[in-house]
Symmetry: C2
């Protein structure tokens, strides 16, 4: 609130979204520090839980891609989580090169204890929204996810001009 005051309402919403990502990252870091883990470990657990919920088989390579790690870093991450008893490695029966990851109940409980209030709060918040309002929020988030997926594309900066 200086010169440009409000910019546009649309930009303000974008900044609200960005504030969410920053604050959410902070919460993850706190959770990690409290449980003797690292931010990346927490992000990994979240990805694994989301994958399980979505029915997507979570392999080591997939997890590394989700987090932007190379294979060495991914292996180290999985070692850490395994030693901590948070996840288990299971060789895929179909393709025995692949390693499937399963999240232990302890980790689930731990995560729920920390993020439960946030999730509950969000659900409660959404219950105060009418159907069209919920639909607007859903449409917005879905759209942003699509935009983020688009922007991803290129393996290097030089090769992303779909238009």
């Amino acid at each position: 609130m200086r010169e440009e005051a409000e910019e546009t309402a649309e930009l303000e919403i974008f900044h609200l979204l960005r504030a969410v990502t920053v604050a959410y990252g902070l919460r993850q870091g706190e959770f990690a520090a409290r449980n003797g883990m690292h931010p990346t470990d927490v992000r990994a657990l979240i990805c694994l839980l989301d994958a399980e919920r979505a029915g997507t088989p979570a392999t080591a390579g997939w997890l590394g891609a989700q987090l932007g790690l190379n294979s060495a870093g991914t292996t180290a991450l999985i070692d850490r989580l395994e030693h901590g008893g948070h996840i288990a490695r299971v060789r895929d029966a179909r393709d025995r090169r692949r390693v499937l990851l399963t999240v232990g109940d302890g980790a689930k409980r731990l995560g729920w204890a920390h993020f439960g209030p946030l999730i509950d709060g969000t659900v409660e918040l959404l219950r105060t929204f009418g159907p069209e309002e919920q639909e607007a929020v859903r449409r917005f988030l879905t759209g942003v996810n699509a935009l983020l997926a688009d922007t991803a594309a290129g393996p290097d900066d030089t090769a992303e001009h779909p238009a």
Copy 2:
């Protein structure tokens, strides 16, 4: 989409939001790698730009708090960004202990080149929303930010049982 199919509509929206945070983190990491920086550096620049836009004076300590770093890490971060020519240190005239941080034009251009499409896309997307719909999105994001701020609170795990 397996057994539990849809859970609740509210939870689905929460997961959409979480997907946004994960994907957004990935984009930041890519941007960092392409410019010889680290994810934290990018997050720092974003915080600094947001602060500038909001008219908030950005000090070293403030930045460290935003990113969850201690003072040593914060100093190292600022050194990196300064050496890279992305930011400049300026001693506060009023309180000469404090160091104010200003983002250089080069960094702004760099960031805009990478995140511009995402921002533009989001603004475009929101333009397709009616006033009540935009208001719904804004209310949702504001509420989530409030929840995240609440959850922050506790310095340790033992003292947060509001229920």
